[in-house]
């Protein structure tokens, strides 16, 4: 339905094909979080890899920082309708985390867990093969606290609530288990190109 009198602010044409349906471009980096911003000192930070309820490996900050580093520059898309192009990240890919634990993924599903109790589910297929990382740097600087510092998950091809801030663990699960927002009406998978914003999309 055309809205009477609305023309909008169309974006540059060569960029528009990088913007999924219903999204608009921003230059700034909005912050959206469901609660207070946790304060985690790197000295207190740990990352736990679990299979079901069982922890299989725990890294502290310096151990985690010694893992191989990968850089990614990606477009990101938030479900609240903003997209930001060419964001530059550096961190440790999920592949390298699994390799350091000496294992291959035991199940096709995972939940990321966070310091503030947040969680989000991401299928293994979207985490492995260089598609996702635990990001430690943003634009060449340590990740700011309000953007998830010291570490956040980065799954850039899904809506950005999947890129969980203040991440402290990854848990492989037998089934695809809904996380925090997925239990609160948001889509179980969250592909921006298919506009999977809410549960029935």
């Amino acid at each position: 339905m055309v809205t009477r009198g609305f023309t909008g602010r169309p974006s540059g044409s060569e960029l528009s094909e990088r913007i999924p349906p219903g999204q608009h471009l921003v230059e700034n980096f909005p912050v959206l979080t469901a609660g207070p911003t946790p304060r985690i000192e790197p000295a207190d930070w740990t990352f736990t890899l679990k299979v079901g309820p069982r922890p299989v490996k725990i890294w502290n900050w310096s151990e985690f920082n010694a893992l191989p580093r990968t850089r990614m520059t990606r477009d990101i898309h938030c479900v609240t309708s903003w997209s930001k192009l060419n964001t530059a990240w550096e961190g440790v890919t999920i592949d390298d985390i699994l390799a350091d634990a000496g294992m291959s993924a035991p199940t096709p599903f995972a939940l990321a867990h966070c310091y503030d109790g947040y969680s989000t589910n991401v299928p293994l297929a979207d985490l492995a093969a260089g598609k996702a990382m635990v990001a430690l740097n943003y634009e060449g600087q340590p990740l700011p606290r309000d953007h998830g510092g010291p570490a956040r998950l980065l799954v850039p091809h899904l809506y950005f609530w999947k890129s969980a801030k203040w991440v402290n663990g990854l848990q492989f699960t037998e089934r695809d288990e809904a996380g925090f927002w997925e239990l609160r009406g948001y889509h179980i998978y969250g592909d921006p190109w298919r506009e999977q914003r809410y549960r029935n999309d």
């Binding site: 339905m1 055309v2 809205t3 009477r4 009198g5 609305f6 023309t7 909008g8 602010r9 169309p10 349906p21 219903g22 999204q23 608009h24 700034n28 909005p30 912050v31 959206l32 979080t33 469901a34 609660g35 207070p36 911003t37 946790p38 938030c78 609240t80 309708s81 903003w82 503030d116 109790g117 309000d146 925090f180 927002w181 239990l183 609160r184 009406g185 914003r197 809410y198 549960r199 029935n200 999309d201």
Partner: protein, 245 residues
């Protein structure tokens, strides 16, 4: 849970009311009425003649009541795409596409006697207003305090209604924080939000707040949540809605 959306619906604007110099209320008649909870929002979608669309979220200001009218209160951002359309172009009778209710987290805690502290800035009071209106209509015995930051007293969204509620609703405390004008009421403040201010307003509740809801810009939400944490409120009892700016 009713947070699952149905599809888009086209709704008529039935009334437009100027609330402050920068904020107008838009009353929309739902063609497919839905139940919602105080604190939820809708997504609004505008479509240009070429099919270009712009989608934004707006909190519902009205209290759930079974009515098919909802109120949105939209602040005009100078270079924005959607909010200036509402302020400068939209008229009564226009059809607007929306869907909802959305959001299953930033919700009125309700059905307890635990005190609730609401903290908002500017148009961030919108979902909090839905909660206060719901609290009044439902007569749930929940003590509520609202700390609302605005530039001047003219910028206080829903000012007259809030002042009236403060007089008529037992267990409701109102504190305004005016950042660009001296406050005239002794219960208000003339500065930006800070921890002593949040402590002062929390102390107007009969007991320590068991639930804190904060809505506004990101820097405001950061300041307010830090203050609530300093007061000893558990992180898990603090919910925030950030308008993304």
């Amino acid at each position: 849970m009713s947070a699952t959306t149905s599809g888009w619906q086209s709704c008529a604007i039935v009334e437009i009311a100027s609330r402050t110099p920068a904020i107008k209320s838009f009353f929309l008649r739902l063609t497919e009425p839905f139940d919602y909870k105080a604190g939820q929002h809708v997504d609004v979608r505008l479509t240009g003649p070429d099919g270009y669309t712009a989608t934004r979220s707006y909190s519902i200001a009205s209290a759930p009541s079974g009515s098919d009218l909802i109120e949105l209160a939209i602040e005009r951002l100078a270079d924005g795409e959607v909010s200036p359309f509402f302020h400068d172009v939209a008229q009564v009778g226009d059809m607007i596409e929306l869907r909802g209710p959305l959001g299953g987290h930033f919700l009125w805690p309700g059905r307890t006697e635990n005190p609730v502290l609401l903290i908002g800035a500017g148009s961030g009071v919108v979902p909090l207003m839905a909660m206060i209106r719901y609290r009044q209509a439902s007569a749930e015995p929940v003590p509520v305090a609202l700390l609302l930051s605005s530039r001047t007293s003219f910028d206080v969204l829903f000012r007259d209604e809030l002042l009236e509620l403060e007089r008529s609703l037992p267990d409701f405390a109102l504190a305004l924080a005016l950042t660009r004008e001296p406050a005239t009421r002794r219960t208000d403040f003339s500065r930006r939000i800070d921890p002593p201010m949040v402590a002062d307003v929390a102390a107007r509740l009969p007991a320590a707040p068991r639930s804190v809801l904060v809505c506004g810009s990101n820097p405001f939400v950061e300041a307010a949540t830090d203050a609530a944490l300093a007061l000893g409120v558990e992180a898990g009892a603090i919910k925030t809605e950030r308008y993304g700016i």
